[in-house]
Subunit: 222 residues, 2 copies
């Protein structure tokens, strides 16, 4: 598979790029609004892989170019950039492209982090609204521990939740998720169930704030 990670220069994007390049044979392309920045990050990830004897090549390109050739496009951007990012790449998406939304809308107050539910019902639903009608959308990778994911020295033991209305698309993302050693993919139903999956992210942040031994926290369902 060819996977484009838009916003692949940010924390969750970095981890997904490194893990897919390191653990799988999928082709990874980093997307950014700035082609130069995308290439420079791709080079950085290649250097990290090379230091482990892995000569996998990672490409870097502007978001539209990265998305146009991909089988799966991961919009690893903050929720408030999501619609703009999807609109910028929409021409290159079609029914054969799976669009993955890992973003969560949150707001912080003095008590902690809170889920900021968009009018669409969830950020995944917002992505589905912004994408061309024929493009299947899957919500996934909201709740991975970003620092652990990006540190290839860490052996993962994490669950990734998937929500989506198109079974083939969900299966494709399941294959991607389980390609990462130590990640188990779990189905959480249709996009109508996305808010419950996305709400877990602010909870993880609140737990990290209040428990010294949970600084980069992920989740396992048992």
């Amino acid at each position: 598979m060819r996977v484009a990670i838009l916003g692949g220069t940010g924390d969750i994007g970095e981890g997904l790029a490194l893990r897919w390049a390191y653990h799988t044979s999928h082709d990874v392309v980093i997307g950014s609004r700035d082609a130069q920045r995308a290439r420079s990050k791709a080079d950085e990830y290649e250097t990290e892989l090379a230091s482990r004897g892995d000569e996998t090549a990672i490409e870097g390109a502007e978001n539209p170019e990265a998305a146009a050739e991909a089988d799966v496009v991961v919009a690893a951007v903050p929720a408030y950039h999501l619609v703009d990012t999807i609109e910028a790449v929409a021409k290159g998406l079609d029914a054969e492209t799976v669009l993955v939304s890992p973003a969560v809308g949150m707001q912080r107050d003095e008590s902690g982090m809170h889920y900021n539910r968009p009018g669409a019902g969830s950020v995944t639903a917002l992505a589905a609204e912004a994408a061309p009608d024929e493009v299947p959308v899957v919500g996934a990778f909201h709740n991975l521990a970003a620092d652990e994911l990006a540190n290839l020295d860490v052996e993962l033991s994490l669950d990734a939740l998937l929500v989506g209305d198109d079974e083939d698309a969900v299966e494709r993302v399941e294959v991607l998720a389980e390609g990462i050693d130590g990640v188990r993919a779990l189905r959480a139903g249709s996009i109508d169930n996305a808010a419950e999956a996305e709400s877990l992210t602010p909870l993880l942040i609140n737990l990290a704030m209040h428990n010294d031994d949970l600084q980069d926290v992920g989740v396992r369902f048992v």
Copy 2:
């Protein structure tokens, strides 16, 4: 400690009663709107314990009587009975009683289960509004796997999330939670953070619906 479990005849109440009686030296009293039903459930739990060679006595009483003598009162009733239940026992609560709210408001649609956030912000906040001002309220035990909890043959490995504004009260509930073998208590902050903890329950139900190997699902933060 003396723990009253109001609604101790329901699923999560049953599990908490059995586990505290079996694993700890805390006194457990089952509360119900019907004293006879409370005593009959208490007898049933005693029989279950006796079958394991444990002669711990469990009391049963009407809710107000059960609550009046307790150090900790767990309102293990459905969310729509919560306010009525608290009002019925309010006279017996004071600043020395900790009120624990494990209830979650949910609604089901064709996709799955959804968090039904009350106007108060969370069910725990609703409990705090319904309780007399001086009574400290802690949200806890929303996300334990009820069938596993109630089956003393099962060795647990679950996290219990605690939210509360009164540190002494949260500590008392932490002691209760960690008294159960295999349960780890985690702080999730103040009652303003309760919605994020409560939202995990419908997610667990959705995961059980969509994953054959997760039929009575709990959670571990890692």
